[in-house]
C-alpha cells in the first residue's frame, strides 16, 4: 500500500533520539507471526492472531489495548506460561537469536526469570503469602544458580534498597500481608530484577494501585531502565502511562497489532481509527474546555468469532466498503510508524470527529428529554 509520500510531522529523515539516551537499535526480542489459540467448548479462541513485534535493547516498549486484545497472552507466550488449554500454534519468538518456542522445558526454566522476568498486576496473588518476602527474592536467585546463597542474601537487601523499600533489612523478614500494595509491587519488581534480566515484562503493574503510588512505581521503572539498562515491555490499557514511560508503542486489537511507532508520533498523529478513538475517549486532567469524549460504539470482538475483513470494521466510524472484505496488512505509513488500515486518519482532514454521526441511542435520548413524571 502506498504511503509516506506526503510530509508528516515527526516523520523526518533523522532518527528520533529520546531523553538523551544512545540510539537503540539491537533487537533483543523479536516476535514473528505469533499465533496462540485456546480450543474451548464455544470454538477456537484466537487469542494472538499473527503478532509481529520487537523489543530493542534498553528501550521501553508499550503494548496497549483493552481487555481481550491479546496483550497479556502475547506476554505469557513469550515466557511459555500459557494456561491450559492454550498453545502456541505458529510463529517464532527470538530472544537474542534463540527461538523460545523451540526450547525444551529445562531451557525454558532457565530462560524464565533469568533473562526475561515478568511482574503481574496483583502482587498479592503473585507473592507466596506464607513465605517471607526476603526468602522469596532469594529463591528467585538461587533457583537459577547464578548466585550462591550467601551472595543472594546480600543481594536481597541491595535490591530492596534499590526499589526504595525503607528499612530493607527489617522488611525482608516480613510476610507479604505486612506490606502495603505499593510495597508489594516493589518487592515483585525486586524479584524480577534479581537475576539482572535483559527484559522485564510488566503486565498492568499499577492498575491496582492508587495514583500517587502509581507515580512512585512509574518513577522507579524509569530509573531502573536508565540505570540498569533493562528493557521494559509495559502492558497496559492506560495510554497516559505509555506517554509517560515508553519510547515506542504497539497498539493491539483482536489479537493483532493494528498500529506501532515511536511514542511522539503515535500520540501526535495516530493513523489507525482505533488508536485515534482511544486517545480521544479518555479524559485528560489538563483539558481546558469540556469536549465531548469520542466513544467507540459496540463491544470488543468475540475472539472465537472474528468478523471478516478488518477486525475493527464493525465499530469503526470511518469504515469503507473495502474494510469489510479484505483485512489490511500492517504497512508503513510514516518513518518507523506502521498501521493496519485502508483508510488512515490523515486522509480524513483536520476534524474527523465531525464525520461521526450521533448514535441511534443518543437520538432517542434527545427526544425523550420532555418525559418527566408518571406515564399515564
Amino acid at each position: 500500500m502506498a504511503c509516506a509520500t506526503r510530509s508528516i510531522p515527526g516523520c523526518g529523515a533523522e532518527p528520533l533520539v529520546t531523553s538523551g539516551r544512545p540510539e537503540l537499535s539491537d533487537a533483543l526480542l523479536q516476535v514473528k507471526g505469533l499465533h496462540t489459540q485456546f480450543p474451548t467448548s464455544r470454538g477456537l479462541v484466537r487469542a494472538v492472531d499473527g503478532v509481529d513485534l520487537e523489543v530493542r535493547s534498553g528501550e521501553v516498549l508499550g503494548v496497549v489495548g483493552e481487555s481481550g486484545c491479546g496483550k497479556t497472552m502475547t506476554a505469557l507466550s513469550i515466557l511459555r506460561l500459557l494456561p491450559d488449554p492454550g498453545r502456541i500454534t505458529a510463529g517464532q519468538i527470538l530472544f537474542r537469536g534463540r527461538d523460545v518456542t523451540a526450547m525444551s522445558p529445562e531451557q525454558v526454566r532457565d530462560f524464565r526469570g533469568n533473562e526475561v522476568a515478568m511482574i503481574f498486576q496483583d502482587p498479592m496473588t503473585s507473592l507466596n503469602p506464607v513465605t517471607k518476602v526476603g526468602s522469596q527474592i532469594e529463591e528467585a536467585m538461587t533457583a537459577h544458580s547464578k548466585f550462591s546463597q550467601q551472595i543472594a542474601k546480600e543481594r536481597v537487601l541491595e535490591l530492596l534498597t534499590r526499589v526504595r523499600v525503607p528499612s530493607a533489612e527489617r522488611r525482608a523478614q516480613d510476610y507479604p500481608h505486612q506490606f502495603s500494595g505499593g510495597m508489594r509491587q516493589r518487592a515483585m519488581i525486586a524479584m524480577g530484577l534479581s537475576n539482572e534480566p535483559a527484559l522485564l515484562i510488566a503486565d498492568e503493574p499499577t492498575t491496582a494501585l492508587d495514583v500517587t503510588v502509581q507515580a512512585q512505581i512509574i518513577d522507579l521503572l524509569k530509573r531502573l531502565n536508565t540505570e540498569m539498562g533493562a528493557a521494559i515491555m509495559l502492558i497496559t490499557h492506560n495510554m497516559a502511562l505509555v506517554a509517560s514511560l515508553c519510547d515506542r508503542v504497539v497498539v493491539m486489537y483482536a489479537g493483532r497489532v493494528v498500529e506501532e511507532g515511536p511514542v511522539e508520533q503515535i500520540f501526535s498523529s495516530p493513523q489507525h481509527p482505533y488508536t485515534w478513538s482511544l486517545l480521544r475517549s479518555v479524559p485528560r486532567v489538563d483539558q481546558a474546555r469540556r469536549e465531548r469524549l469520542v466513544s467507540i460504539e459496540g463491544l470488543p470482538p468475540d475472539l472465537s468469532r472474528l468478523p471478516g475483513g478488518c477486525k475493527f470494521h464493525p465499530r469503526c466510524p470511518f469504515v469503507e466498503a473495502r474494510c469489510r472484505e479484505e483485512e489490511p496488512p500492517l504497512a508503513e505509513v510514516a518513518s518507523a510508524q506502521k498501521a493496519r488500515c485502508w483508510v488512515l486518519m490523515r486522509t480524513l482532514g483536520d476534524n474527523p470527529q465531525d464525520r461521526i454521526e450521533p448514535s441511534a441511542a443518543r437520538a432517542t435520548l434527545l427526544s425523550a428529554g420532555e418525559a418527566d413524571g408518571a406515564v399515564g
Binding site: E66, G182, D210, A243, V282, V285, S295, A368
Partner: protein
C-alpha cells in the same frame, strides 16, 4: 412535587437552589474486639450542592468517599452531623417519610456485576422501584420499563434477559436505568466507570452527561480518577483520610491548587502527551496512606507532606477548610498555596 406535611423537618435558612447540604458529617465503624478502635471513615465533612450541578468527589483508597456517598442518601446512618436534602434533614425523618424521599435520590454503583440481582430479569429489576412506589401499572408500567431501556441505549425488547447475558457496560446502563426509574433529582454516582474497559467508559460518561441535561439531574460523582472527575464536574472536592482538603471549580482546581495533596495528586496523574510528560517532574509524596483507624495528629497529611512543619503547627493543629484563593475555593492547609 408537593411538600409533605412534615414542615417541622424543613431546615430554615437553606436556599431552595441548594439541593444537598452536608454539615459536619461523621461516620465511624467500630472495629470490634476489645480495643474500642473505630475506622474513622468520614471524619467531619461539609459541603453544598446546587440544583443541576455536578460535584466531583475524588480521593484515593481509604479516603472515605464511598462511605460518604452512601451517607448522602442515607443508605448508612451518620454518627453525627446533618445531611439536608431538598431542605429537609434526612436523619430526622421517620421510616415512612424517608421512603418517600428515596424517590428523589438515587445511586449508581461501581461494580456492574454485583449491582444487579443475578436471579432477576432486567424487566423485574427495573420494575422493582416502579412497584415500590406504585408509579405505574399494567401496560403503562411495561411502557415505562421499555422507555427506560431506550433512554440508556439498550434494546427495549430485552426485558426477559438476565444480567449475566449482558456485557459490563450494558449492565452499568441497566443500573443507570434503574436509578432513573423514579425521576430523581439527585444521583450519587459511586465510581460508575472504574470497572469498565476504556472505550466503554467514554460511552457511559457521555450518557451520564446527556442524561443530566435531559432530566435536570444533580450529581455527586465519586471517583479516584481525577481526569474523569474533572471532565464531568462543575466543582471538585478532594478527600484525604475522611476529610475534605480542598474544594474548587474545575478550572481553579487545576490552574491553582492550594493544598499540597491536591498538587501532588495532579502532578501524579499521567497525561497522554509524551512531550508534556517528559518535561514533568511529578511531586512524589513519600510513604503510603495511613490507616483510617489511627489518623495522624493535627493535619492528617503532615506525615507525607513535602512542606509540612512537623514538629510544628502541622502536627499540632488541624487546619480549617477556609477560603484562600477566591470565592468558593477553599482549602484546609496552614500554608496553602506554598508548594
Amino acid at each position: 412535587m408537593a411538600l409533605s406535611a412534615e414542615a417541622s423537618l424543613q431546615v430554615p435558612g437553606v436556599d431552595p437552589e441548594t439541593i444537598l447540604r452536608v454539615e459536619d458529617v461523621y461516620k465511624h465503624f467500630p472495629l470490634g474486639g476489645l480495643g474500642g478502635d473505630t475506622v474513622r471513615a468520614v471524619d467531619g465533612v461539609s459541603f453544598e450542592l446546587k440544583r443541576g450541578e455536578t460535584l466531583g468527589l475524588v480521593g484515593e483508597s481509604g479516603c472515605g468517599k464511598s462511605t460518604l456517598g452512601r451517607c448522602l442518601i442515607r443508605l448508612l446512618n451518620v454518627n453525627s452531623g446533618r445531611v439536608i436534602f431538598e431542605g429537609r434533614d434526612l436523619a430526622a425523618m421517620g421510616a415512612r417519610e424517608l421512603r418517600r424521599v428515596r424517590r428523589r435520590m438515587q445511586i449508581i454503583f461501581q461494580d456492574p456485576f454485583a449491582s444487579l440481582d443475578p436471579r432477576m430479569t432486567v424487566g423485574e429489576i427495573l420494575a422493582e422501584p416502579i412497584d415500590n412506589f406504585k408509579f405505574a401499572r399494567g401496560a403503562s408500567r411495561r411502557r415505562r420499563i421499555q422507555e427506560l431501556l431506550d433512554i440508556v441505549g439498550l434494546n427495549p425488547n430485552f426485558t426477559n434477559r438476565y444480567p449475566h447475558e449482558f456485557s459490563g457496560g450494558q449492565r452499568q446502563r441497566i443500573g443507570i436505568a434503574r436509578a432513573l426509574a423514579l425521576n430523581p433529582s439527585l444521583i450519587v454516582c459511586d465510581e460508575p466507570v472504574s470497572a469498565l474497559d476504556v472505550s466503554i467508559q467514554a460511552q457511559i460518561i457521555n450518557l451520564l452527561q446527556d442524561l443530566q441535561g435531559s432530566f435536570d439531574l444533580s450529581y455527586v460523582f465519586i471517583a479516584h480518577d481525577l481526569a474523569v472527575v474533572r471532565h464531568l464536574s462543575d466543582r471538585v472536592a478532594v478527600m484525604y483520610l475522611g476529610k475534605i482538603v480542598e474544594i474548587a471549580d474545575r478550572q481553579s482546581i487545576y490552574a491553582s491548587p492550594q493544598h499540597p495533596y491536591t498538587k501532588a495528586l495532579l502532578s501524579s496523574i499521567p497525561i497522554p502527551d509524551p512531550a508534556k510528560e517528559r518535561d514533568r517532574a511529578p511531586i512524589l509524596i513519600k510513604g503510603e496512606i495511613p490507616s483510617p483507624v489511627n489518623p495522624p495528629s493535627g493535619c492528617r497529611f503532615h506525615t507525607r507532606c513535602p512542606i509540612a512543619r512537623a514538629p510544628g503547627i502541622c502536627a499540632d493543629q488541624e487546619p480549617a477548610l477556609i477560603e484562600h484563593a477566591g470565592s468558593g475555593h477553599v482549602a484546609a492547609c496552614h500554608f496553602a498555596g506554598e508548594l
